[in-house]
């Protein structure tokens, strides 16, 4: 069977009227958009479209962009974490004029519920800031908008609910797709598919395509045989079970697309458990790891270029690629929660310090940051471990902060800090002594000059007349007073600075 583009992409609604059944949502959203376009922005700068998967949230936004000739600037859940991405978007959102012929812009933050409630506090506040400054409509989507961490967002935006697509609306729509594909299709089959997918139009269309591509027609029997209930999200453990014991392509793909894990976490769950499950057979293991490697490449491209149309390939490598890597049966291994997540949380501080250290070293030692990490940091660690005394002086010379010292010196940390403080104190003392000595010398020199001056004056005075003599002496006296009495050690030091 030839490869074709996914129907959900081919039949993605082009115009607002193509989006089925979401009249209520349109009634709220369209006037809101029109306000923006009229140059009279609404009070709420953002809208949050929420509802079950596959009912037209993203589609409606795209249709609006299309119909009103707006430029769509999109950011996905996995990008939100990167502050600079948000800042970049904020910048674009703040500048008013889009490139012609576009008449305006929409910022789409898709799947905000994919933000992790623990890890990404920064993201939420960045979004709030974005909402504050926005001069273009900010539209967000979520399946579940009721998470505690989304509350500040909920309070500031227009909430727009999307409903499941009822049978009466879904069936004619699905039938139309079959017609334009020229595929024989039984109405009961569509009803069955709809039933199983509970009004998720995307899932319906995907199931139809899966059957049609394999068998060239869609009958009730085929639907009953192939469509499995997509009724609930899987826990990570269930996902692994379904994945590792999947017999067919679609089963495996379904397993990895039926969790509510964000993409990074999902990947880790699988990547860390593949070696456990397949570890007893190097060939199966290798094939599965290769599939993961490919999946990661797609994921990198998706993230880097925001090319979300590659997402299906990612899931296909991650799911079927891994599941069908096995040639023999493996009994269920002891799977576990991804260790890396805990490790990364634990080492976050450490990584930040290392990064700062590498930046500092790359600037002062004229090397790249990666060289600093690979060569110089280990060198410093070595010295800290074997000669804390010496390391303390290096720390001073390199202007390392205390946390950098702690990072490098590990258990020698206290020793190093103690020595460093001692050195600093010694230097301070030394500087004080030196300054005092210099000040003393200076004053002595000055005093000597004054004596000399007096001698000259006396000699001159003799030659002058008495009346003048008295007057002049008084003047000199005053001058001398100023010069001598006014000059304290403090003044001197201040002058030196």
């Amino acid at each position: 069977m030839k490869k074709s583009i996914p129907w959900i992409i081919k039949y993605r609604p082009k115009r607002v009227e193509d989006v089925v059944n979401q009249e209520k949502a349109k009634e709220l959203l369209i006037p809101w958009i029109k306000k923006w376009l009229s140059g009279n922005p609404p009070e709420k700068k953002g809208a949050l479209l929420w509802g079950p998967p596959g009912v037209g949230k993203t589609s409606l936004v795209e249709a609006i962009c299309n119909e009103y000739n707006l430029e769509k600037i999109e950011l996905n859940a996995s990008d939100f974490r990167r502050k600079k991405d948000i800042e970049r978007i904020a910048l674009v959102a703040a500048t008013k004029r889009p490139l012609p012929p576009k008449k305006g812009r929409i910022v789409l933050l898709d799947e905000v519920d994919g933000l992790s409630p623990r890890g990404d506090e920064g993201a939420i506040s960045a979004i709030l800031e974005l909402l504050e400054k926005a001069r273009n409509p900010i539209i967000m989507t979520a399946n579940d908008p009721w998470g505690q961490h989304l509350r500040p967002i909920r309070e500031r935006v227009l909430m727009v609910e999307f409903k499941r697509i009822p049978k009466t609306k879904a069936l004619p729509y699905l039938m139309k797709i079959c017609e334009s594909e020229g595929i024989y299709c039984e109405k009961q089959a569509l009803a069955y598919i709809w039933e199983k997918n509970k009004g998720d139009l995307r899932a319906c269309i995907n199931d139809m395509q899966a059957i049609a591509e394999a068998y060239g027609k869609i009958t009730l029997d085929l639907a009953k045989a192939l469509v499995v209930e997509r009724d609930r999200t899987l826990t990570p453990w269930e996902m692994l079970q379904h994945l590792f014991y999947a017999k067919y392509f679609w089963q495996a793909k379904k397993a990895v697309t039926s969790t509510d894990l964000d993409y990074d976490t999902l990947f880790l769950w699988i990547a860390e458990n593949v070696p456990k499950q397949y570890g007893d057979d190097p060939e199966d293991l290798w094939r599965a790891m290769e599939a993961l490697s490919r999946a990661d490449v797609y994921y990198g491209r998706i993230k880097r270029r925001m090319n979300w149309s590659l997402l299906p390939y990612y899931f296909e490598m991650l799911g079927p690629g891994v599941a069908l890597a096995k040639e023999k049966y493996h009994k269920r291994a002891r799977w576990s929660y991804p260790e890396k997540i805990t490790l990364l949380a634990k080492t976050k501080e450490q990584r930040r310090i290392r990064e700062e250290l590498a930046t500092l070293l790359s600037l002062t030692q004229h090397v790249s940051k990666s060289y600093a990490k690979a060569e110089i940091i280990p060198l410093l660690k070595f010295i800290a471990q074997h000669n804390p005394q010496y390391f303390a002086r290096l720390a001073l010379g390199l202007r390392l902060t205390d946390e950098m010292i702690k990072f490098l010196a590990g258990k020698e940390y206290r020793t190093v800090i103690r020595i460093k403080e001692k050195l600093l104190k010694e230097m301070e003392e030394e500087a004080k002594i030196r300054a005092a000595r210099e000040a003393k010398e200076y004053l002595e020199r000055k005093a000597l000059e004054v004596v000399e001056e007096e001698k000259v004056e006396k000699w001159e005075e003799k030659k002058e007349e008495k009346a003048e003599k008295v007057e002049k002496r008084e003047k000199k006296e005053r001058k001398r007073e100023e010069r001598r009495g006014g000059l304290t050690l403090l003044d001197f030091l201040n002058k030196k600075k």
């Binding site: 293991l285 290798w286 993961l292 490697s293 994921y299 990198g300 790359s362 060569e375």
Partner: protein, 326 residues
């Protein structure tokens, strides 16, 4: 060792002027000529690490502009500031800034230019032409073949050689004397052998050894432990023995503890595999080299370096035992 402040010796003993540079005589002579004439072409400095490329560029600027040469020199580390956009804006800004009093141009130093993408290099080519009246570029590369031809053709080419044994040993000796550190000549010779004409590496090892006390051959051997090739070798060996789990655990530790990037690791692995330390079948070497290259490529495209390296280890775990039994 009088001051309380200590520096890293590689930097402390970086020659300030062209005259102080060890060896590389022809290059130094040509550069001095440029200084005399107060005219510098675009230049490409190529050669192995730690042979004086960056040093020569800084010293040239020093000799041209005097002590305050920093303000007339823009130093960009290409491997850190990847994007051409960064380079473009920085260069533009710099080109507009104050010109030096006696010299009609400023210098942009692009260190590790071979790490720039071909795209970035193409854009650089335009910059070099656009600003050539007021700005001269010095590009530094370990692998000059990674510099695209049109850039090579715009540059005077200087090839730095690995430093010869006697010069390195002499320099190390000089440093020891200056630092009041006791050393054995054999130890310094050993340092040379371990650093293969890379003066920075040599000085780093020397300083690590000196931190242990007297610089003896034993101290040197202990000191080279600061770098991690030994651990990389363990990872490879474990994988080749078919022990994927252990290998990948160790790998994770290396990456998290040392903060090595995936590319750092695969490069070290590659080096290790190509060295004679690892006794493996040459046919296996070929297969591994090919796959290491593939993995490095995938890392530039992918999202998670670690998974790419793990896939690599899985391959080793598959191939290693096969070649052992054959």
């Amino acid at each position: 060792m009088s001051s309380a402040y200590e520096m890293l010796w590689a930097e402390k003993y970086r020659p300030k002027t062209l005259d102080e540079i060890v060896d590389q005589e022809e290059i130094v002579a040509r550069l001095k000529k440029f200084v005399e004439e107060k005219n510098v072409p675009h230049m490409l400095f190529a050669g192995p690490p730690g042979t004086g490329k960056t040093t020569a560029a800084l010293a040239l600027a020093h000799d041209l502009y005097g002590e305050n040469y920093r303000q007339y020199l823009l130093e960009l580390n290409a491997s850190d500031e990847r994007g051409i956009d960064v380079i473009r804006t920085k260069v533009k800004e710099f080109a507009r800034s104050r010109t030096p009093p006696n010299v009609p141009f400023k210098i942009v130093l692009l260190d590790e230019a071979d790490n720039m993408t071909a795209d970035a290099q193409q854009a650089l080519r335009r910059l070099m032409e656009l600003y050539s009246a007021t700005t001269r570029f010095i590009l530094i590369a370990n692998f000059p073949s990674k510099i695209i031809e049109p850039i090579q053709s715009r540059c005077a080419y200087f090839r730095f050689k690995p430093l010869p044994k006697d010069k390195v040993v002499e320099r190390l000796m000089y440093i020891c004397k200056n630092e009041g550190v006791q050393c054995e000549k054999e130890a310094l010779e050993e340092i040379y052998e371990l650093s293969e004409g890379d003066m920075r590496k040599a000085i780093n090892i020397l300083q690590a050894a000196a931190a242990l006390g007297k610089v003896t051959v034993d101290a040197v051997y202990k000191a080279i432990g600061y770098a991690h090739p030994a651990e990389i070798r363990e990872v490879i060996t474990k994988a080749l023995n078919g022990n994927f789990m252990e290998a990948s655990k160790h790998l994770r530790k290396l990456m998290l503890e040392y903060g090595l990037s995936g590319v750092d690791v695969i490069k070290s692995i590659h080096k290790e595999i190509m060295s004679n330390n690892l006794k493996i079948d040459d046919r296996l070497r070929v297969l591994i080299a090919d796959y290491a290259g593939e993995v490095q490529f995938r890392m530039t495209e992918g999202a998670d370096d670690e998974i790419q390296l793990q896939a690599f280890l899985a391959k080793l775990a598959l191939l290693g035992p096969r070649f052992k039994s054959a």
